[in-house]
Amino acid sequence: MAGSAELALQDVSLRFGGVQAIRDINLTVPPGGITAIIGPNGAGKTSVLNVVSRFYRPQEGWVTYGNTNLLTLRPYQVIHHGIARSFQNVALFKELSVFDNLLVGADHLSKVTLVENIFRLPRSRTHERNARRRAERVLEFLDIGHLRNRVAGELSFGDQKLVDMGRALMADPTFLMLDEPAAGLQESQKVWLGRVIPGIPDEYGATVLLIDHDMGLVLGVSSNVIVMDHGAKIAEGPPDEVRNDPRVIAAYLGQEET
């Protein structure tokens, strides 16, 4: 089942008053690989993520993941269908340690009750043990073991982005949405991240939907790229094809080069 479902947005439109954030968009993210959404500022990339994770309700359209109609879910139910996300402007639990932030990512995987937790009954202990083991693996995977006891709110923006990504990985997702994971990272870290992200589908069995401004990273790791501009999809295809698409060059790549 891991990473075997397809995410589909059909005729989705989202408006905030007079601002059209998403314009009648149709897109599918095939299971298994890494799909990226690129586009200039204000193109509506994060809005797509916020629609999928149910923070925004589109005025029109359908959003499905496999056979699940995501629009019937509340935000906290989305992850129970295997969809996890990181945030563009990191939303860590700032007063908690990095390790505890990661543990929260795995807490939805068990149905331990409050009373079981107070008395540390077997289910509570088992969950805690499994979550800790999983957190150790994530710390190692993202090379952030040295941050484990640090308070999340005191980390640099780049480190917070990595913890944010780690917390989403903790959720055992089949579909992982990464919103600008490379923002705030140093160049050397971006190169390193370019080697880490392609490992996610194999290591964690999750399909990845990636948004980032770093074109080198995006085009280097993705098998499929969707280009958005002014809330609409203007191109889609393999990285090499997209890179040479005149509409994309005009809307995005051209801007980057000037």
């Binding site: 905030f16 939303a91 505890d100 929260v104 107070i118 640099s156 923006f157």
Partner: protein, 360 residues
């Protein structure tokens, strides 16, 4: 004990051990001084009540100005059930917790959707309403109106924990009950339930994205806090011997809030230390009639000037200082002590106006 405390929190462990040792030998050291023993019991009871408020305010990020109202529910449960049905003491304490938890649940269902000022006003209304309700003619047959109720003496088997006859025995009863409650609360806070409370406090959006039903989490927190507040209320009832609406003035809610802030947000032991200081100041200030409230206020202000993040924050800073000076066994300090440069904001102009919104 290891399971209750994250590794490296040596300061907390040493503090807890010292506190328990002092609490256990206190009646031996001050045997015969009933007034002191009675004030020490009050430290424990107020301490527990402040910890339960800290659960809401410090660990849950919710504000409550009506905590004395919940305390009153727990306290009234004891004579109402004890005098009418002759329940054993342990059952009365538990029943006080359960009754207050039920009231907390009913209160939490709507307030779980409120934030900030709205929550403050709602809880304030509750705190003011409970003593008034106890006076009303409809409830007076149960609460005996303004005259209040005489609380049964706590007993276990044939032994009576008479606060006048056996002040030390009642002291140890309080100590055991309060310690059990604190252990349960610490155990809870160190588990996935505790992480949920704090996650909702720090970021509701991220908590929701991680599968946490934020409303339900707040309701559960309110109910849990109310349960332990009810137990504190039961102990207060046994301590006072008589309870009336005047036992639970609005000022008591503010007093608990002052203890929480003075002790430090999200610090269980800070709240206990806050209660200790407040009761000591109260005892000392009682020698200055007319000035006692002003003295208490001045002490709270002074402590917050010296330690803006409360006694717990002050303790952490002193510990860091000790570690910096290379004082032995101060190494292995908690994570908060190693303060790092704060997060850099994302570059200006990089974020489109539409996409920075994460609200619903």
């Amino acid at each position: 004990m290891n399971i209750l405390l994250p590794p490296g929190r040596r300061l907390e462990r040493i503090g807890i051990a010292l506190l328990i040792v002092v609490a256990v030998i206190f009646p031996k050291a001050y045997g015969g001084q009933d007034y002191l023993i009675s004030q020490a019991r009050l430290v424990m009871i107020y301490g527990l009540a402040a910890v339960t408020l800290n659960l809401l305010v410090g660990f849950g990020g919710q504000i409550s100005l009506g905590h004395a109202g919940l305390l009153a529910i727990g306290a009234y449960t004891v004579p109402v059930l004890g005098n009418n049905y002759n329940w054993p003491t342990w059952a009365l304490i538990l029943a006080a917790g359960v009754t207050t938890a039920l009231v907390g649940l009913v209160l939490g269902l709507p307030t779980g959707r409120l934030r900030g000022h709205y929550l403050a006003i709602t809880t304030l209304g509750f705190g003011l309403a409970v003593p008034e309700l106890a006076l009303s003619t409809r409830v007076a047959p149960l609460t005996n109106g303004s005259e209040g109720l005489i609380v049964p003496t706590p007993t276990i088997g044939s032994f009576t924990f008479d606060s006048a006859g056996h002040p030390e025995a009642f002291y140890y009863l309080c100590l055991v009950v309060v310690l059990l409650c604190l252990l349960a609360i610490l155990s809870l806070l160190g588990s996935s339930s505790g992480r949920r409370f704090m996650a909702v406090r720090d970021s509701e959006d991220a908590a929701a994205a991680m599968g946490i039903n934020t409303w339900l989490t707040k309701v559960v927190l309110f109910t849990t806090s109310a349960f332990f507040t009810g137990i504190a209320g039961a102990l207060l009832a046994f301590q006072d011997g008589v309870i009336a609406p005047t036992t639970f003035p609005f000022g008591l809610s503010l007093l608990f809030l002052a203890i929480v802030i003075m002790g430090g947000m999200a610090s269980v032991w800070g709240s206990i230390a806050g209660a200790l200081i407040l009761i000591v100041v109260q005892v000392e200030a009682s020698n200055q009639p007319g000035l006692s409230d002003a003295i208490i206020g001045a002490v709270v202000v002074l402590i917050l000037l010296l330690a803006p993040d409360g006694l717990a924050g002050l303790a952490r800073r002193l510990w860091r200082l000790a570690a910096g000076l290379g004082i032995p066994w101060s190494a292995g300090v908690g994570p908060r002590l190693r303060r790092q440069p704060a997060a850099e904001p994302p570059e200006a102009g990089e974020r489109p106006p539409v996409e920075v919104r994460h609200g619903r």
